[in-house]
């Protein structure tokens, strides 16, 4: 590794009970109550799902958007271990932690949405494999990736409990899991886009393109870096730590690089397919398209200049906007621009929104507990020395 003089990660410490964790606790309790009703009385009892819209926000927000938000671990690991940028090493553990939660919850969230969830094991039964299915590929890749991420994160737990021998053994094989941890997300993040290709003319032309897998992969990577900016700024502010701008400023530049490639691909595709004119037809789809594009383009204006990239407030805002843009791309494709025919409409119920809120609350709560009790964030006094 080029750069090994980073501060070692240590637990932040401090009290686990505060306003944020209490709110998270309440949201999680509500979610559990709603899910109890859902599992006892079925999807129809709590959701607005119907034959025309079999996928609601539990799939689109919790799984498709949630797993894209969870690409920080993959994006940073790729930067540090594949492109050998050791200077970003302190970002690996916190990013991996956020990803771990995001993906594990996305995996669990799929179960809530399955009408006959007790059949989910069929997916992993070799006699039922359908290798031509996009959904099969997504399901298998995400499952494998969750396992790989827990292995990648295991040194943190082993360190905390003083299992040096086990820590060393895992460390020796780690390069393989890191490699696997870059290939698997590339596979399923792109395939989440391919899911839209299957739906054909039911998807609005602004979001129906054979290069959807490429667009989803590029935005997933971009969102991965955006989440790291967001999470690092938020952690610094919440734990009153120094903002890691020496890492975030160059990281933001890499993020913008991916963003520009995405924007070129996105616009070129619209022009080549002749779908751009649809963006000027007054419709809810066109409005959402422009909101989505604005969320992607504004960060270029906000932090396009090197001097602006040193401003933590701008970095934070750019991160939030890119997360929003990526989320809108997915929401627009899967729900807003999805039309199954006359007579069907979908708007989430309060119960659905509360479950989604509860899922994000688990992520926040888990992140707080683990960073306070396990060695994830770099030691503060050493970080100040930079």
């Amino acid at each position: 590794m080029a750069n090994n003089n980073h501060a070692a990660p240590v637990p932040v410490g401090g009290n686990l009970v505060n306003a944020v964790t209490l709110i998270c606790g309440v949201l999680i309790a509500i979610m559990v109550a709603v899910l109890l009703v859902r599992f006892l009385f079925g999807l129809g009892a709590v959701t607005a799902l119907n034959d025309g819209y079999p996928w609601g926000i539990w799939v689109v927000v919790d799984v498709v958007i949630g797993s894209a938000f969870a690409c920080g671990g993959f994006s940073v690991a790729m930067l540090v271990y594949i492109f050998n940028k050791g200077e970003y090493h302190p970002l690996v553990r916190p990013a991996l932690l956020a990803s771990l939660f995001g993906y594990t919850l996305a995996g669990a969230g799929v179960i809530f949405d399955l009408g006959r969830w007790w059949n989910v094991w069929h997916m992993f039964n070799p006699w039922s494999f359908n290798p031509n299915s996009v959904m099969f590929e997504v399901a298998v890749c995400i499952t494998l990736y969750i396992i790989v991420m827990w292995i990648e994160f295991s040194p943190v737990v082993l360190e905390q409990f003083g299992k040096a021998e086990a820590r060393r053994k895992v460390g020796r094989a780690m390069f393989f899991f890191i490699a696997l941890g870059t290939v698997l997300p590339m596979m399923h993040q792109s395939s989440l886009g391919t899911l839209l290709v299957v739906l054909g003319v039911q998807i609005h032309p602004l979001w129906q393109t054979p290069i959807q897998p490429l667009l989803y992969l590029l935005t997933a990577i971009t969102m991965g870096y955006a989440v790291v900016l967001f999470e690092s700024c938020l952690t610094s502010s919440a734990y009153r730590r120094k903002i890691e701008s020496h890492m975030l400023t160059p990281l933001a530049k890499i993020m913008l690089g991916f963003l520009v490639v995405y924007l070129v691909a996105r616009v070129a595709d619209l022009v080549v397919r002749g779908a751009l004119s649809m963006a000027f037809v007054p419709s809810i789809e066109a409005l959402m398209f422009w909101l989505e594009m604005a969320s992607f383009v504004t960060p270029l204006i906000l932090i396009g200049a090197e001097s602006n990239r040193r401003n933590p407030a701008r970095l934070f805002l750019a991160g939030v906007l890119l997360m929003l843009g990526g989320a809108l791309l997915r929401l627009n494709g899967f729900l807003i621009g999805y039309e199954t025919g006359d007579g069907f409409s979908y708007f989430p119920t309060l119960a659905e929104v509360l479950v989604t809120a509860g899922m994000f609350a688990i992520e926040v709560l888990g992140y707080i507990i683990i960073t306070r009790r396990f060695p994830v964030l770099p030691r503060e006094n050493a970080a100040v020395a930079h």
């Binding site: 090994n4 040194p155 393989f176 890191i178 870059t182 290709v197 299957v198 054909g200």
Partner: protein
């Protein structure tokens, strides 16, 4: 132009036919070839397959007593002037060919039918999947490359806590 005939509010008898796709397609093509307004014979209900027509009314080997089903089906065809159709069988090529075929005098989109490309969306996604994952060659090649690079860049003791600099 004056409307020569009133627009029917319900489908006329015999508007819906069923049978084998190949027979339905042949019937559709036969109708498109007719001159509008010319008297023609039209089948009603189930289209009979060529083989059935040949066996029509012949013994079925079970004896006269047990005869039933299509062998006894009466010929319900009728004679009427041919309609004016668009020269297009909807469902012949749409999405790679569908089981239901339609003829229409007006644009199919006006009838609420989507304008579908000749290839099914699932064929496109299958092509994408097979290109990227055919025989899992690409994933394993990428994994191999990534493993090679990661092996060089990841030192086993790399992020061991408490070891700063090495």
């Amino acid at each position: 132009m004056a409307i020569t005939r009133p627009v029917p509010e319900v489908c006329p008898t015999g508007a819906t036919l069923f049978g084998r796709t190949e027979d339905l397609l042949a019937e559709a093509k036969r109708r498109l070839a007719m001159k509008p307004g010319e008297l023609n014979r039209f089948p009603r209900g189930r289209l009979r397959h060529a083989q059935e027509k040949a066996l029509q009314g012949k013994p079925d080997g079970k004896g006269e007593k047990h005869r039933h089903g299509w062998r006894d089906e009466p010929d319900q065809s009728y004679e009427t002037p041919a309609g004016k159709y668009l020269q297009h069988v909807y469902g012949e090529k749409e999405y790679g060919g569908t089981q239901v075929l339609k003829l229409s005098g007006v644009n199919f989109q006006k009838m609420g039918m989507p304008d579908l490309p000749p290839d099914a969306a699932a064929a496109m996604s299958e092509t994408i999947q097979h290109t990227l994952y055919g025989g899992l060659l690409m994933p394993f090649a990428v994994l191999g490359a990534m493993t090679f690079i990661a092996k060089r860049n990841v030192k086993p003791e790399d992020d061991e806590s408490g070891k700063e600099g090495s």
